[in-house]
């Protein structure tokens, strides 16, 4: 299967602009030189009963019914671009394609006297450029998936992660990219817990993997790397650790390795707690979160203390490379992974990946990426990087962040949050961004 670039739609952002119709006008203009919405191939329709707006637009389906219902071969799925192409000279205006489409993506234009559909403007969609709220975005990460598809997945199939697990995606993607010349350490946490370190006498990876103690991951990798260097072999010493294994129990060895600038690629998959052992709070658990050790009752309303910002702490070690990342922004992540991998040849590279957990955070398994995205778009989880000796640099600056509720409302662990707590969380988010901006020289 090939992945293709596509237009994504975020109804909650679309709602902010109150029927601005900028996308519709832009489409009508670029396709027909008219402002008349009838010529637009994208249609925003009001949501019913107060729901957010909805979208009638060609989804460029993978197994398109419109193409199958076309008797004239005017419609074809282009295997290179993924577009469903429409060829006017072949069309007989039978409208059978409109029977195939469940989303109003191909419609008859009575003035033009033929059907019309979105062609993604040759990869530069006018509607996306015109959208003032960012509700429409053109997703170009398909290339990454196609490229990664060519590489070998170095984890075995059948790992028993929860449905919708972000960590499994992170580790499979990361190790594919880092490649086979790797020794991997996975301290106790979800990642070995799902079987990656091994089960029934076999390992769960196709590279050497070991299961250090929570406390000594970074120091063991430091020693391994030194021995490989002594042998003259270029091997990546890589850790996939949870936030507990990195920032709480594992912190002294991590801090030491960062201070020594040992040649390690250390990836922290931060799901804000000890999720595999029953969702206990960690130092990374955010203020107000429900966990099994920060319950919600008549007195306690979730976690009383703020999360520590491990990525900033690591930055202050002045090691080779530190960055935050989110799986909702994979292009950003892959750029950082490339840089971190290169930096790990020189010294210590630390990647902090926000990893919302459907099981422990209480959201549907289909919503993982959406929670990731909202984390970034509310500035709860800002994306930045730092290279030794340089300034902090925002890689996906959010100029008009959504209110933090847009992120909190997605997860059950914040369901109880009251107005006072909400104001506190918003203030923490604002302060954190202010601090980061100071480091960025802004």
């Amino acid at each position: 299967m090939t992945a293709y670039n596509t237009i994504a739609f975020d109804p909650s952002r679309c709602e902010l602009c109150n029927d601005c119709d900028a996308c519709i006008t832009a489409c009508a203009q670029v396709k027909s030189g008219s402002d008349d919405p009838l010529y637009s191939r994208i249609k925003i329709v009001a949501g019913f009963n107060g729901n957010p707006p909805e979208l009638a637009l060609c989804r460029q389906c993978g197994d398109p019914e419109c193409v199958k219902s076309c008797p004239s071969t005017a419609l074809t799925k282009n295997p290179d671009t993924g577009l469903i192409d429409w060829e006017k000279s072949l069309c007989v205006d039978c409208l059978l394609c409109t029977v195939g489409c469940s989303y109003g993506g191909i419609t008859y234009n009575a003035t033009l006297k033929h059907v019309a559909k979105c062609d993604l403007c040759d990869g530069d969609p006018a509607c996306v450029k015109a959208c003032p709220s960012g509700a429409l975005s053109y997703i170009t990460s398909a290339g990454i998936f196609n490229e990664q598809h060519e590489r070998e997945d170095l984890f075995v199939p059948g790992l028993s992660a929860c449905q919708g697990c972000n960590s499994e995606m992170i580790m499979r993607h990361s190790l594919r990219k880092v490649g086979p010349d790797t020794v991997l350490a996975t301290p106790p946490g979800c990642i070995p817990g799902m079987g990656s370190v091994g089960f029934n006498g076999t390992t769960g990876t196709k590279v050497p993997v070991f299961h250090p103690l929570l406390t000594n991951t970074a120091s063991m990798l430091a020693g391994l790397k030194k021995q490989y260097n002594r042998m003259g072999r270029n091997v990546t010493a890589m850790a996939l650790a949870g936030d507990g294994g990195a920032g709480d129990v594992g912190f002294q060895s991590l801090s030491g390795a960062a201070e020594r600038n040992d040649q390690i690629l250390f990836i922290c998959v931060d799901n804000e707690g000890y999720m595999n052992t029953g969702m206990q709070a960690s130092g990374s658990t955010s203020y107000g979160s429900w966990t099994t050790t920060t319950p919600v009752g008549s007195e306690m309303k979730g976690k009383r203390t703020s999360q520590k910002n491990l990525a900033m702490i690591m930055m202050n070690h002045n090691c080779e490379y530190v960055a935050t990342a989110s799986t909702a922004f994979v292009e950003d992540y892959y750029e950082k992974l490339d840089k971190a991998l290169a930096a790990s040849e020189r010294g210590f590279a630390y990647l902090h990946i926000y990893s919302p957990c459907p099981t422990g955070w209480r959201f549907p398994s289909s919503q993982t990426i959406e929670v990731c995205r909202k984390g970034v778009e509310t500035n709860f989880a800002p994306l930045w990087e730092y290279e030794r000796g340089g300034d902090l640099h925002f890689t996906h600056p959010i100029d008009n962040p959504l209110p933090v509720e847009a992120y909190l409302n997605l997860s059950g662990k914040y369901r109880h949050v009251n107005a006072e707590q909400l104001a506190c969380i918003q203030q923490q988010v604002n302060e954190r961004v202010r601090t980061l901006k100071r480091y960025a020289g802004q």
Binding site: K43, V45, A46, G47, F48, N49, N51, E54, L55, A56, R59, D63, E65, C66, K68, S69, P71, S72, T73, L90, V92, D93, C94, L95, L96, T98, V99, G100, C101, S102, Y103, G104, T107, Y108, A110, K113
Partner: protein
């Protein structure tokens, strides 16, 4: 003896969709596709446009030759099934070749019905079901002036309009009082009939032909009321029915077509049927029905293939819903689902005489049963889904009646994420 795993008879929409679906889950087992046509696969729906010259035969090929090579499909053209040995799991082709199969899909379509009109068999006439028919009709139409079309069903109407576009004087003779019965109600039919009249097509509705005889290079047609017509070209389009002689001696049960269950299985083991040849579940009632529409052939082909490959994603066939998107002389008549109200249905009609627009919504317990329109923007696919999914419109009923297009789009879009 040749051997194949999947044998698919018929290379139009149902057969081609089945091949596609089989290859999605079974990349290796041999597929053999037999078609009686010598031409590369095409859609019967395109044929009227070939007649008018709008579509060139070589440009409407549904699958290029290399598709079959790439997907390891053996295509046998200009050949057809003549008999099936269901216990030996073998078929005999017209050429005499015998093929051993593991699973057999019958998607052999339908053939024109030739009405028992005195004199017809001695008179030259056209039918329109194959590419060769269309090419013959096109070539003949290019040389003559007057055409008579028997039948105002889909093929007759499309054929007549395209003969008109090709420049002929055209007369339609139809036994019923309205055009396209079963697809459109009398009001919609009247609009369509009016457009045909206005574009110079003579419509002889409620007329029965009692005799046809050759006259020079053409023919003379005598009607029941004593009138007679002369034509250079006669197109017989009085319906289709499947040709099922090859089933003789099998346990495949037939009525008007091959009777199938909701997995497109026939009564014989290892034999499926789909498309115009099949008589399958009706969405609205208990009786099995002949659908004869393109999107339904695709659906049936998909269901059959998924059952043949034991694809776990198979959802049994929900049942046929009549659908018609009919364009005529630049106007559109669209009908999805039931077109005629009965006592159990709530009927809402909106007429805009000035713009020749018309909309009719049929609801049953606030669920869409049918919607038909003339010259109204309409997403037929969305309406089809609302019917098939039995979407409860109670919370949005007023909005749906006032703005079916936008409300339908919002409803279906909300199912996307």
């Amino acid at each position: 003896m040749n051997t194949t795993h999947y044998l698919v008879a018929g290379a139009s929409h149902a057969g081609l969709e089945a091949v596609h679906r089989i290859r999605l889950v079974d990349e290796t087992s041999p597929i053999t596709l037999v078609t009686r046509d010598a031409h590369a696969p095409y859609s019967p729906t395109i044929l009227p446009y070939v007649v008018s010259g709008q579509s060139a035969p070589e440009r409407v090929v549904l699958r290029p030759a290399d598709y079959f090579l790439q997907h390891n499909v053996t295509l046998i053209s200009d050949n057809e099934l003549v008999s099936i040995d269901e216990t030996g799991k073998q078929v005999t082709l017209k050429s005499g070749d015998r093929w051993q199969y593991a699973k057999l899909l019958l998607a052999t379509g339908a053939d024109p019905i030739i009405p028992p009109i005195p004199g017809l068999s001695e008179t030259p006439y056209h039918v329109l079901r194959t590419m060769q028919h269309a090419i013959d009709l096109r070539d003949h139409a290019g040389k003559v002036k007057r055409a008579v079309v028997l039948g105002a069903g889909l093929i007759g109407m499309h054929g007549a309009e395209n003969l008109r576009h090709a420049g002929l004087d055209v007369t339609i003779v139809e036994m019923c009082d309205q055009v396209l019965p079963g697809y459109f109600d009398a009001r919609a039919a009247a609009v369509i009939e009016h457009a045909f009249n206005a574009n110079g097509i003579r419509m002889l509705m409620g007329s029965r032909v009692v005799r046809v005889e050759p006259l020079g290079d053409g023919c003379r047609i005598t009607l029941e009321n004593g009138d007679s017509l002369e034509a250079d070209l006669l197109l017989v389009a009085t319906g289709v029915k499947p040709q099922l002689d090859y089933l003789k001696g099998t346990s495949v049960q037939v009525d008007q077509g091959i009777l199938v269950d909701r997995r497109m299985r026939t009564d014989a083991p290892h034999i499926w049927a789909a498309g115009d040849v099949a008589q399958a579940a009706d969405f609205y009632g208990e009786e099995k029905v002949m659908m004869g529409i393109l999107p339904d052939a695709v659906t049936q082909g998909a269901v059959a293939a998924m059952d043949m490959t034991e694809d776990h994603a198979l959802k049994p066939y929900i049942g046929g819903v009549p659908i018609n998107t009919y364009t005529f002389f630049g106007q559109q008549a669209i009908s999805v689902g039931q077109s005629l109200a009965d006592a159990s249905l709530e009927e809402l009609t909106r007429v805009d005489e000035d713009h020749g627009r018309y909309l009719k919504i049929l609801l049953k317990e606030n669920r869409l049963q049918g919607i038909s329109s003339i010259n109204q923007e309409m997403d037929a696919g969305i309406m089809w889904q609302l019917i098939l999914r039995k979407v409860d419109l109670t919370p949005v009923k007023d909005a749906f009646i006032a703005r079916p297009l936008e409300t339908g789009r919002a409803l279906m879009s909300s199912t996307w994420r």
